[in-house]
């Protein structure tokens, strides 16, 4: 039993989208531009050429936050969305009735419809692919050129993620909502 989380050294992200493609190939995510578990957030640049704000072009890699208090799990009428044994949020396709409450409840917009299984699908932290066969990295983490992601057990004080969260400043997204997200953005 672990409590999986991910730290993102997001300033290293160059928006190359290797993570998104690795995720799709590993987890058999449907093709189609709006079918993805991972994305990189970019805002419109601020300023007028050539007086542009570099900081306004920071890239924010993101995916399901695997909240400790997950709104998507709370609203699911069939208990299709549930907490996995390592704290990851999972979906049981047999129970999902595609009511899409979870999509509306998720403040991070992390869920999408898989048209094959007719399930509102999401990131699994690769628990049913890579981790299930004993690997220790997620696909997105493994492939990243600049090594943005650190994945691991938040309950293990000796894990890399626990160490980095002790040593570096970080923030979480929409903290005020009380969802207790487990994606940590390293400053």
């Amino acid at each position: 039993m672990a409590r999986y989380g991910m730290a993102l050294d997001y300033k290293k992200c160059i928006n190359c989208k290797a993570c998104e493609t690795a995720c799709k190939e590993e987890n058999g995510v449907l093709l189609g531009a709006d079918k993805h578990r991972i994305w990189v957030g970019v805002k419109e640049i601020e300023g007028e050429f050539p007086l542009l704000s570099i900081a306004s072009q920071t890239f924010y890699p993101s995916q399901c936050q695997h909240c400790d208090e997950a709104p998507c799990q709370e609203v699911c009428p069939t208990n299709a969305t549930y907490y996995g044994e390592n704290g990851e949020i999972k979906v049981d396709p047999d129970k999902c009735i595609l009511c899409s409450y979870c999509m509306n409840a998720c403040p991070y917009d992390a869920r999408y419809v898989d048209d094959r299984t007719m399930t509102v699908d999401k990131c699994t932290f690769c628990t049913d692919t890579r981790l299930a066969r004993g690997e220790t990295t997620t696909a997105c983490q493994n492939t990243c050129p600049t090594k943005v992601r650190i994945f691991g057990d938040l309950d293990d004080p000796n894990s890399e993620i626990s160490q980095v969260l002790r040593e570096r400043e970080y923030f979480t997204l929409k903290t005020h909502l009380g969802t207790k997200p487990k994606l940590f953005y390293l400053v």
Binding site: E20, T21, E25, L31, I45, P50, P145
Partner: protein, 797 residues
């Protein structure tokens, strides 16, 4: 901190995903073979048949991958940590290699044209029928040209098996070879070669001050540079400062400490001014210059007397003088751990060769040559060569270059350039061919893994050239725009279906790596080695018969000995008789454990058992820092003189400035009502080679025209509006992306889109083709394509 970025916001806010649907349509050419239409991905399972270490070919970097095979299907490509160059990563394209393997549009069988050239109508034939057809046409042409082997042109794109194809060219005996260099690295590689001895690597991992000018490493990914650079610059302590010099605000600019929106084509003035500050304030490394420079005093005099001051450069570059002064001072304060990044790109401006010379000299002024944190020569592990064939044909003419009728000292000897390099000037060759200036007819063309229709300026002219070729043989994996003009198409298998020639990768952390075959070739495709084995078996004897007929030297040799003995020297089949695996084993036979390691890890370097170490869950070290070859020549350049060459008099004899010199004609203001057109690369696509990849198509549906937001508003152009871009060369249509990331007199779109091959489901008529618009302007030294010298008009359609 509170950040509001969500999937939905992202969809609204960026170019990549806002356009719904694609313009691609399925076509009929290969429809019988199309199965399943839209492709899907495969979820990886618990057990794999095998994990095969291989090398990626989605771009030129050759990163190491581990292919996962389940039930005979490649389900995943993972990074291979053993290869120092690729730093345990695979980019988006590397991951999408599976979709290249299973692309329904792939060339599957040998084809012979039945319709008009370019129409895309072919009939499926057997390999033997294809070879037979090529033989008949080749022998006919050679007979009519009296064994002038140069009546055939050979051209190839970059790749690990390029040399295999070049071996065929050498045996064939033509003098006409064109590769990617004149639309790629020609000027930068040659300029650094002449100035410091080679085109070096940059130790971006250890530099503390880095200038990236006209090099967009976040989007035009080069390994290990991209990873080393951004990991270093954006490390916890911000260890290195990054200055990005680019007319456009790129993803690299987004990672920089300072972005300088330089006027296009004026980088040379910027570097000369940095040099002026460095020399006039005596900031340079005096010991290094005293010991390692040739012609420094003359260069100093040249820089000072020409008045290349920051104030002078401000007028030309648009970068203020104080900033230029500060950057020169900071750079030299950080030197030798400061890098003016050499860059790895095509030629943009006509002055590119001189720009690269000036950059190399400026770098050397700080002493950052052959050292940690500077430019690095590194070591290369030696591997053995393989069988080649260089028969002499009496009637083979010299390369079809056009010399000036009279040589004038101090001027270029050729009509289009001063120097003809091994790779030749593609544009010059093509244009001379079309204009009938070549001294003999070239009638046939063998084209390997190369797409001249899309890859070089002035698409219309390339098409005209291909139409005039009596025999065009294309070896490729995909029905590219060039393949559409082929008379015979020989389908190569993709990189995941073949073992390629072993390659040694030099650098601070040298290694040998191999592309191991992951699965057997699908359909009737073959590796180029096997294709040439079959082709030469068919061609060799009949071609020798033509030689016997016209070559008096060969006739005399046969008189003296026997036909059998003479033919042995002309037997084209010899280099292609062994399997690639056998040749590879021979290549590394000096290293006792290499074959085993290359099979197991895909990578070999001596001491890897001792050196390779896992640093954390996801990071590895191939060489301990103390064992890396940062310094191999005591900090000296590796030119023949072991000095930095500031002044090269032999260049002046050919009309090329002996020292980097700014000339007023290098910059002109944009004509009123027109725009300067830039092209460039993208992190999710490699030129035209991957625009048909369905996975990558998910990330960016099509290319867009960057146009300044305020200008677009004045013109009534909104996001997604279709516009026509036109120049003297031609026109293309593309959707607009108004943005403040570009200047008012410039427009930009990425290369590789707008293809016309109807056999490409995703790439066909998708987006705009830059080379339909870019004019065929050459830089004067090598005749390399100068891609950013074109002005265009824009019209909403």
């Amino acid at each position: 901190m509170h950040i509001e970025i969500s999937r939905r916001k992202f969809l609204q806010g960026t170019v990549a995903l806002t356009i719904i649907g694609s313009t691609a349509t399925t076509t009929s050419l290969f429809s019988k073979d199309k199965q399943g239409e839209l492709k899907i991905t495969t979820k990886t399972g618990e057990t794999a048949d095998r994990l095969v270490p291989t090398l990626c070919e989605m771009c030129v970097n050759k990163c190491a991958a581990i292919a996962r095979v389940e039930n005979g299907v490649v389900t995943k490509l993972d990074p291979n940590p053993y290869f120092p160059k690729s730093r345990n990563m695979l980019c988006a394209r590397g991951n999408a290699g599976i979709q290249a393997l299973y692309d329904p549009d792939r060339l599957k069988y040998p084809l012979i044209r039945v319709g008009e050239k370019g129409e895309g109508k072919f009939k499926r034939v057997t390999w033997d029928e294809a070879y037979e057809y090529i033989k008949e046409q080749t022998v006919k042409i050679l007979d009519e040209e009296e064994d002038n082997r140069s009546s055939f042109l050979f051209c190839a794109g970059e790749g690990m098996a390029e040399h295999t194809f070049k071996t065929f060219y050498q045996g064939f005996g033509s003098s006409n070879w064109l590769n990617h260099s004149s639309i790629c690295l020609q000027t930068v590689a040659s300029a650094y070669g002449l100035t410091v001895g080679t085109y070096p690597q940059a130790d971006l991992e250890n530099a503390t001050y880095i200038i990236l000018a006209g090099a967009n490493r976040a989007e035009a990914i080069v390994t290990p540079d991209t990873m080393d650079l951004f990991k270093n610059v954006k490390s916890k302590n911000n260890a290195a400062k990054l200055i990005c010099v680019d007319p456009r605000f790129t993803n690299t600019a987004a990672k920089s400490d300072k972005w300088l929106a330089i006027k296009p084509g004026t980088d040379l003035a910027f570097v000369l001014a940095l040099t002026h500050v460095t020399i006039s304030e005596e900031l340079y490394n005096k010991d290094y210059v005293a010991n390692n420079f040739n012609g420094f005093e003359e260069y100093k005099e040249h820089i000072i007397s020409n008045g290349y001051t920051p104030q002078w450069a401000e007028q030309i570059t648009g970068i203020d003088a104080a900033t230029i002064t500060t950057i020169a001072r900071e750079f030299m304060a950080h030197a030798p751990k400061a890098i003016y990044y050499p860059g790895r790109r095509s030629t943009f401006a006509k002055n590119d060769f001189q720009l690269r010379r000036a950059m190399a000299i400026f770098q050397a002024l700080g002493g950052g040559i052959d050292c940690e944190g500077g430019l690095v020569f590194g070591k290369t592990l030696k591997i053995k060569g393989h069988d080649e064939l260089s028969p002499m044909y009496e009637n083979a003419e010299d390369r079809a270059v056009v010399k000036k009728s009279k040589y004038v000292a101090g001027e270029a000897g050729y009509t289009d350039c001063a120097i003809v390099s091994g790779g030749g000037s593609w544009i010059s060759w093509r244009n001379n061919f079309l204009e009938g200036k070549q001294s003999y007819p070239v009638r046939g063309m063998f084209c390997y893994k190369h797409n001249p229709v899309i890859n070089m300026p002035n698409t219309a002219k390339t098409i005209e050239m291909l139409k005039k070729m009596e025999l065009l043989v294309c070896i490729d994996t995909m029905p590219s725009d060039t393949v559409m003009y082929a008379d015979v198409v020989l389908p190569e298998c993709t990189y995941l279906e073949r073992t390629d020639p072993i390659k040694t990768f030099g650098g601070a952390e040298p290694a040998i790596a191999v592309r191991n075959k992951v699965i057997d070739p699908m359909f009737e495709t073959k590796p180029v080695m096997d294709i040439l084995n079959g082709l030469t078996k068919k061609l060799s004897k009949p071609m020798f018969d033509i030689t016997k007929k016209y070559d008096t030297e060969v006739q005399a040799m046969i008189e003296e000995s026997s036909e059998e003995d003479v033919y042995a020297e002309f037997d084209l089949t010899i280099p292609f008789q062994h399997s690639q695996e056998e040749i590879n084993e021979h290549s590394v036979s000096d290293y006792p454990d290499a074959v085993e390691k290359l099979s197991k890890y895909g990578v070999y370097y001596p001491e890897m058992d001792n050196y390779f170490k896992q640093l954390s869950v996801n990071e590895y070290e191939c060489y301990p820092k103390s064992k890396r070859a940062y310094r191999v020549n005591e900090g000296k350049p590796i030119t023949p003189s072991n000095k930095v060459e500031c002044k090269i008099d032999t260049l002046a004899k050919n009309g090329v400035d002996a020292m980097p010199t700014w000339r007023d004609e290098y910059y002109r203001e944009t004509t009123q009502g027109k725009y300067k057109l830039f092209t460039g690369r993208h992190a999710q696509y490699t030129q035209s080679g991957s625009t048909n990849n369905s996975m990558l198509n998910d990330l960016l549906r099509e290319n867009f025209l960057w146009i300044n937001k305020r200008v677009a508003k004045e013109q009534g152009i909104e996001f997604g509006d279709l516009v026509e871009i036109s120049s003297k060369a031609g026109s293309t249509k593309i959707k607009a992306y108004p943005t403040e990331k570009i200047a008012k007199d410039q427009v930009f779109f990425i290369h590789g889109f707008g293809q016309e091959s109807s056999a490409l489901t995703w790439a066909y008529k998708n987006g705009g083709n830059d080379n339909a618009v870019i004019e065929d302007i050459m830089e004067p030294v090598y005749g390399a394509a100068a891609m950013h010298e074109t002005e265009v008009e824009i019209k909403k359609v």
